[in-house]
């Protein structure tokens, strides 16, 4: 068993009176691709946002390479730098070209020299087939292209782990493929990834493990073959029955 990159222990989070995460235990090995599935409102997004500390957690610990990053009061910027996240709505900066979107954070946060940085960014665009669109503004790109630029933007920070929150959910069906291909490519390159998704086919194909969330806990987890072919838990069965029908 390879060493754990990210470990969640008993993570709890509620919004006011509404408990959303009720004790999450999860361990992600280096180079793993984990898919989170579950009904809308089951807390997938909240979990991802808690990992990167956009939401403070109420209880439990989150360890990144063994370091507790959920401790109140620690400097979050260096932690966030190591964790890339991409959302359903691409959130590109509309006033910047695709290239500027990508180089902003490395320039300001990592203080990379602009020549080397531009070369690196250009290589990223090239790698994911977006080289012709580097100079375009977000509103000149299709949804699929924007979402890929958003991924490149996160990758440009050279994160150690990537979180994806239903990044294909807002796309037209014919554009979903190009984004999923990008994820496959990343997996091939050995990136550690945690993604919330409704693309069951994709999860079954590429995930190392699938976690089914319901009622604020991970009800069942295992290799996709097991989960999809023979779910043990009744709630998993009900969910998969509904979405795979």
């Amino acid at each position: 068993m390879p060493e754990a990159k990210l470990v969640l222990q008993g993570v709890k989070k509620s919004f006011g009176e509404n408990p959303v995460l009720c004790g999450i235990d999860l361990s992600i090995a280096r180079g793993d691709m984990i898919c989170l599935i579950g009904a809308s409102g089951s807390g997938k997004s909240t979990l991802l946002r808690c990992i990167n500390q956009l939401e403070p957690i109420d209880e439990g610990t989150i360890l990144l390479d063994g370091q507790d990053i959920s401790e109140p009061g620690i400097d979050l910027a260096p932690v966030r730098r190591r964790i890339g996240i991409v959302f359903q709505s691409y959130n590109l900066f509309p006033h910047m070209s695709a290239l500027d979107n990508v180089v902003l954070a490395p320039r300001r946060v990592l203080h990379e020299a602009s020549e080397a940085l531009h070369a690196r960014a250009a290589a990223l665009f090239d790698r994911f087939g977006l080289a012709p669109h580097m100079a375009k503004y977000p509103d000149q790109l299709s949804g699929g292209q924007q979402q890929r630029v958003a991924v490149i933007r996160a990758l440009a920070m050279q994160p150690e782990i990537m979180l994806f929150d239903e990044i294909t959910a807002a796309l037209d069906p014919e554009l979903v493929g190009e984004v999923l291909n990008l994820l496959r490519q990343l997996r091939g390159e050995g990136m550690t990834m945690l993604l919330a998704t409704h693309e069951m086919g994709f999860a079954r194909e590429v995930a190392d493990r699938v976690c089914f969330m319901d009622g604020g806990v991970i009800v069942e987890e295992g290799p996709p073959k097991e989960i999809f072919a023979a779910p043990k838990h009744v709630r998993t069965q009900a969910f998969l029955g509904a979405v795979l029908r």
Binding site: N52, P78, R80, F87, F93, H95, L104, A105, V109
Partner: protein
């Protein structure tokens, strides 16, 4: 040209004709009918005296330079202070709560008090505390009054712009590891400022006119000079001259701003 384009072109021609005819009709009515009014000769002599116009124009133009000058050095100060106040109002950290309160009070006070009153209070009041020349100059303190008032308006406009940038933009920046300051500077403000340019342009046109209020505390700018002529010549034509000079500047300026905005908008869509 397809059928739709032909139809739209015909529509445009029609509305242009209607607009031209109605404008021409109103103008002709004014030009022909107003002089028929019994009081017209007197009004004409009081407001449109060609000799007075020619005689006062050069001096008034020169006095207008004072307005331009005050305007020119006020604008950067207003924008800088307006931005600072807007940021103070939007400060998020709990420790900065007093700053937010200050920002809110500042905006309420200076938007609530008429500009003229602020000009009097600061233009006469502050120097009255015992400053000596040249630090008690009405130009300095009049400018301060204008900057205080207008930065309050600009701050509100900017703040609305900042709030109109969706929270997800901030999140995206923070997730990339950008600091609060960089997020503001590179992500939020560029979008916010772009959105409030039209509102701020209107503000600047208003400022251009309010600069004349500084004449209350002494400077002989164009409106004051016109007033002096009015009283010496017992004739209102100098005000018409002043209006013409103002229009010569403000109309092209607003048109140019509109043009820039449109260009920007077209380039981005």
């Amino acid at each position: 040209m397809n059928r739709r384009q032909a139809y739209e072109a015909a529509q445009r021609r029609r509305s242009l004709t209607v607009a031209a005819l109605s404008t021409g009709g109103v103008l002709a009515g004014l030009i022909l009918l107003v002089p028929l009014a019994p009081g017209w000769p007197a009004v004409k002599a009081s407001f449109f005296d060609a000799t007075v116009f020619a005689e006062t124009f050069p001096t008034l133009l020169q006095a207008f330079l004072i307005d331009v000058m005050i305007f020119a050095w006020s604008v950067p100060l207003i924008l800088a202070l307006g931005l600072a106040i807007a940021l103070a109002r939007g400060a998020r950290a709990p420790a900065l709560f007093p700053l937010r309160i200050f920002g809110a009070v500042y905006v309420d006070v200076f938007r609530g008090v008429p500009v003229v009153l602020t000009i009097y209070l600061i233009g006469f009041g502050v120097p009255g505390l015992g400053l000596s020349r040249p630090w008690n100059s009405p130009y300095i303190w009049g400018t301060v009054a204008l900057v205080l008032t207008y930065s309050a308006y600009v701050a509100e406009v900017l703040r609305s712009g900042i709030e109109s940038v969706h929270a997800s933009q901030r999140n995206a920046a923070i997730c990339l590891g950008l600091s609060e300051g960089d997020t503001l500077r590179y992500v939020i403000l560029p979008q916010a400022i772009r959105r409030v340019v039209p509102a701020n342009m209107n503000m600047l046109v208003a400022l251009q006119k309010d600069v004349a209020l500084l004449s209350f505390i002494g400077p002989v700018e164009i409106l004051r000079q016109a007033g002096i002529y009015k009283s010496l010549l017992a004739n209102f034509t100098p005000y018409v001259v002043a209006a013409v000079i103002f229009l010569l500047v403000t109309v092209p300026a607003t048109r140019y701003a509109d043009y820039l905005l449109n260009r920007d908008r077209n380039a981005r869509s």
